[in-house]
């Protein structure tokens, strides 16, 4: 389910099911269009910053081309009906000083440029004396920066955010800011002005070689500046998240289930209020300002669980990279999974009288969630209500009179006969469900009235994300992962930062020009 499906369905009235329930047919239908919407948003974001000198994700500077000799020409076969099938090379092998590597053929230039890396290789390491460069609690100390890099700024504990107004706070600037003076990657003195809308985690645009001075204005929180560190969350600059009421920049956080060993999960969330000046004013008590949009379990490429430690978004491919406690890196195309059609879809009725509703459309493994029935259309007296569920294995259970689940079929009898007013015939019930399996849980509510029987469905997803690739760093005790100023992948332990180069052994065949395009640099390429 693309991140922006909800934005499309938010055009429907608030009472509609499509707007509230991602398991509906309509929601799933719009996710097809939202996929393109999502892709376009990412491309627009990249294009809008492509001429910015300090952009993240500079792109790929080179590819390599091979003009085939006649002996290796790709020949066409004309099928019945006139379509053409090309005979591509059997084996393409890239050879360089490190050995040889069989290349995989891809179908498009996008896949060639930005496919998942096949391998990573450590190219450098730097000893780091200080990861914490500056702490406003000890303002006189500015530690040395081991190598030029963007810095992570953590602002926390603010009680008030103020800004200059016509008659108030004239001593402040227009917006809460941090001014950071330092030397850049070319050893030139400059100042970066960073707007701080609210407490949180920020990353400088520039790479700093040395810090000279840090000045803040408009807020009173603690400022900590790090070279590389695992933070509470990261901001995914390329995606927005939307729910029924609000939209915001996607923020991502990894977490671990405390009641299940080795089960990590990813949390999609955003800020409710975007500006600290909106609520951190010393009068209104600070509120919990996060809105969780979705949670999903993280699995490696073999669908095994692990404990995540830190995460980063690749600025070129916009994929999510998660570092785990066993020093492996898992690469994801992170998005919320779309619901599958429910088993009883063909039996669902256009109308429904009593509905079954979850509090939220997702759950974590082992979580117990409260659910309820809702007499949405009290226009006919109810005779009986049957609530049943189907777990991801397809096992069906019915809600019993004592509000437990059992494989024995059960129906709730209505309160009164057909002469009663409809609203007197059914009193909504609240019950609980423990989600002990990953996958799609289906909940049905069958309502019998004197004139018709309706079937209502709502789904809850215990969502999981399987890694496209899992790569081993072969370094121990890693603590953080990030993408550096040069777009390379970096990981760090408590004293060293390691730089990695990603390699994708792919080629694209262009039979019209008898040409192969190769993503990586090889001294020679063997074609069979």
């Amino acid at each position: 389910m693309p991140h922006l499906t909800q934005r499309l369905v938010n055009n429907f009235p608030g009472w509609t099911k499509i707007r509230k329930d991602p398991s509906t047919f309509g929601f799933r239908f719009f996710s097809v269009y939202a996929d393109y919407f999502d892709l376009a948003t990412v491309e627009i974001k990249k294009l809008s910053t492509s001429r910015n000198l300090l952009q993240k994700g500079m792109g790929l500077p080179y590819i390599w081309s091979i003009q085939l000799d006649e002996v290796n020409f790709m020949t066409p076969e004309i099928n019945k009906g006139g379509s053409i099938t090309w005979n591509y090379p059997t084996t393409v092998t890239g050879v360089n000083s490190g050995g040889s590597q069989v290349l995989t053929r891809v179908e498009s230039i996008e896949e060639l440029l930005w496919s998942v890396p096949d391998t990573i290789d450590q190219v450098d390491s730097v000893g780091v004396d200080y990861f914490l460069i500056y702490d406003s609690d000890v303002p006189s100390v500015i530690n040395t920066i081991a190598y030029p890099e963007r810095l992570i700024i953590v602002v926390s504990g603010s009680t008030s955010y103020l800004r200059k107004k016509a008659t108030e706070n004239r001593f402040l600037s227009g917006r809460p800011k941090i001014f950071i003076e330092g030397y850049d990657i070319n050893d030139m003195l400059f100042t970066e002005h960073m707007v701080i809308p609210d407490d949180g985690v920020f990353i400088t645009q520039n790479a700093f070689f040395e810090l000279e001075e840090i000045v803040s204005s408009g807020f009173d929180g603690r400022i900590q500046i790090y070279l590389a560190t695992a933070t509470d969350y990261i901001v995914d600059e390329y995606h927005a998240v939307v729910n029924e009421e609000l939209e915001g920049q996607l923020k991502l956080r990894t977490n671990v289930l405390t009641y299940l060993v080795d089960y990590g999960y990813l949390q999609y969330f955003t800020d409710i209020l975007k500006q600290g000046t909106s609520y951190r004013n010393g009068v209104i008590p600070d509120l919990e300002n996060e809105e969780v949009i979705w949670e999903q379990h993280l699995l490696d490429e073999n669908s095994n669980t692990y404990i995540p430690r830190d995460l980063a978004v690749n600025p070129n491919s916009t994929r999510l990279y998660v570092l785990d406690t066993s020093n492996k890196i898992h690469i994801y195309n992170h998005e919320i999974n779309t619901f599958d059609p429910c088993v009883d879809e063909s039996s669902l009725t256009r109308n429904s009288f009593v509905q079954v509703q979850p509090l939220k459309s997702w759950a974590l493994l082992g979580e117990t969630q409260t659910m309820f029935t809702w007499f949405a259309r009290p226009i006919e007296p109810i005779l009986s209500v049957t609530v049943y569920r189907r777990n991801p294995n397809g096992d069906q259970e019915w809600l019993q009179d004592d509000l437990t689940w059992n494989t024995v079929s059960n129906s709730f009898a209505a309160n009164a006969g057909i002469q009663s007013r409809p609203e007197d015939t059914w009193k909504d019930i609240t019950f609980e469900c423990e989600f002990d399996l990953i996958g799609q849980w289906e909940f049905y509510c069958e309502t019998q009235t004197p004139n018709e029987t309706t079937l209502y469905y709502s789904g809850v997803l215990v969502d999981s994300l399987v890694a496209e690739k899992t790569l081993d760093t072969e370094i121990t005790d890693l603590t953080s992962i990030y993408f550096g100023f040069n777009d390379h992948l970096y990981v760090s332990d408590v004293s060293t930062v390691y730089e990695f180069q990603e390699y994708s052994d792919k080629y694209l065949a262009n039979p019209q020009r008898q040409q192969l395009l190769v993503r990586e640099e090889y001294t020679s390429v063997e074609v069979v």
Partner: protein, 293 residues
Amino acid sequence: MSTYTPQRISLSVGLDETGLGLSLFRLDGESLEDYRRRLLLEARDPSGPTEIQLINSVNRYLGQFEIPIFEIDVIRNSTGEPIASDPYIEVTSTHFRIYSDYSSGSPDIELNLVDRSDAYFLEAIYTAFVGNTDFTISTLDTDYEYKKSAFLKYGNNNRFIHTELLGKSRANKLKYELIQEIYPQAELLFKTEVATRESIAAEGEFYIDYINGVVYTYDFARGFIAYSYRKFPYRLHWQPVRVWPYNNEDKKYLYYNELISDTTGLGENTLLNSEGARIANMVLAVHPLNWGK
């Protein structure tokens, strides 16, 4: 099976378009990381026709980067003021000199950067500071020892601020210290300079704390001020392609051999050597003026 040697194809990226705007193109085979560094240099310190702009910009056009080597700072007394009375650093075409009192005209350290028996390698510059009571030196590059000193970037630590706004106050702390000269916009406030802050007694009188960079005036200050100052700490850079002005007096140590002076009896660099002649001929070939006519 056939074996091929792949041919590199440059892909156009956003930085190339930015580079077009800055007239700085990506070199063949150059990484985007290096290209961005060059573009950042051009954006923050544009190339131009002045001497300093030429010195700063040549390397970036050749895909080379200056390397920060040393940082030299003044040693300060207990009140935070430099011990040296008029500290000054210069790197000329062939020499490195540092003065604790520039007005005296005699350098505390003078090193020949092109003489194998003197400071031919950077290591000698670093060791020359051992025991110095006016200056400290720290290394910025771990691999400096055997880099040739002759590639030290030409320049000195005189700097000029074109505009700095004075606050509405009788005392204004300037951004930099070790001030040399000031050029205030509000001339009526800066008519007569007095010797001490306490001596300011009438309109138009002012006092400058040159060491700490503080401007005191009789009335509330206003307008902008321009000033020159000595930059400390001063960073020495190593240029892969070194640029210096041909009219620099110290070039005689490179292009002229020693002759014994008739008047002083001392060796002086006055005899044009073969390298000097070669360069002179190159200059005359493109800019002969009226030479020989």
